[in-house]
Amino acid sequence: MNTVAAGMPLGGVIFMTIFIAIFGYILIILARLIGGRRTNNSQVKRDIYECGIPVQEKRETKVSVKFYLTAILFILFDIEIIFMYPWAITFKDFIGSGQGAFVFVSMLVFIAVFIYGLFWEIKSKALEWD
């Protein structure tokens, strides 16, 4: 019995990405063809949005460092969470084969490090937004 789309999902993913990209660009081009495009716009129209005054700021807007800090912390914690996935999926098998206690305790140690990291992060005010 043939199972359609059982194997090689990668081909499907690549096809779908390319298809949606082409679909989207066709829509944009269609909208440009139908909607038209004026070339002699005034400077005010070509400016970026501003609340009723001349445009004030350059692109080099200063950005709060908190965003970068959040992103770095995210990477650390996300990797720790991803490490839990293989453990979670094999946990029942390990219990079945009698090694449950070892796997459980070693994960508790890992989670203790995780909790310590989270606690330290909160204590060092890395998550304070003011």
Binding site: M1, N2, V4, A5, A6, G7, P9, G12, V13, F15, M16, F19, A21, G24, Y25, L27, I28, L30, A31, R32, I34, G35, G36, R37, R46, D47, I48, Y49, C51, R59, T61, V63, K66, F67, T70, A71, F74, F77, D78, I81, Y85, A88, I89, T90, F91, K92, D93, I95, G100, F104, M107, L108, I111, F114, I115, L118, E121, L127, E128, W129
Partner: protein, 375 residues
Amino acid sequence: MGNDAFEITINLIKLVAVFLLIVQAVPILVWVERRGSAFIQNRFGPNRVGPLGLLQLLADAVKFLTKEDFAPDKAIKPLFYAAPVFALIPAALAFAAIPLSVPLEIGGYVFRIQGYEMNVGIVFILGVSGLAAYTILMAGWGSGSKFSLLGALRASAQVISYELALGLSIVGVIMMYGTFNLTEMITAQQGAMKFHAFGYEITSRFLPNWGIFYQPLAAILFFAASFAESNRLPFDLAEGEAEIVAGFHTEYGGFKMLMFFIGEYGHMILGSSLMIVFFFGGYGLPGITVDEVRSWAAGVTDGAAGASVLTTLIHFLSFTVKLVLFLWIFIWVRWTLPRFRYDQLMDLGWRTMLPWALGNTILTALVIYFTSVLI
């Protein structure tokens, strides 16, 4: 992709169909959202164009198409135009990995009612839907406007913060079912409630065997986090009108704006589908197994193909009904709750939901270890 030309063609058509399923759902959802908000706020909503305002969608589409295509001088054009296109991709790619019904068996072929079958379904879906942060940043940086940039930074920081709670809340679910495969998960949730604990078999005839009864805390955390992932109220800080105009799509209009909308609604559909698959039995009917439906269908229709089609249709309908209910909850919450402040949002994600999800993981491990629960 398949063995012969017929299979490959069917697969490609299926992928296109999954994408169009999301795209065609958006105008209907917009209509439901506007009518629903009007209903909640004691207004009329769109009711002039066609019966019940249903043709409003068509009028909107025409309006979007005839808008002038415009990019401000300061915008980085390649990024500015690429962002809305790439906003369509993550949700559609992830949604294609979700099984929508039981496989269709006709003439020696088995057609899966899903874009592609994945053994690592959950990891794939989490990974791909996380790419949405990039499209937001592309839009924000490419617009060259400070409001867009601030909105994009807020939105991406929010999305990645809640991804932690989202990812961690599923660990308990994975532990319960012992698989990444979504189809196997749904199969484990079939029929009436039945599980083993302390070596005894415990059954209940009145409750379905759904994940929500085993992982209630994970369900709440996951649902809340999926609101934040799709940038919906009460977590739509990216579009706080009073502070940063319209967030990362301040400079967008017309069809490009609509494409961001499709992306957002796609994430809503994805979040609802995942809720259904993890906690509400997927395409299964409550308390009834697929085999029972199949034998009933074999009695009603003649021929194996007819029975298979009927079974698939029934389960697809079941999935659709659940999906509609969850999408309505998304809309309902949006028009009921006010918006958070940004520091409250971050506090909720990092200090409340993350520890609770961690607690849920430890609790699930303890329960599984000491009672040896088997579903």
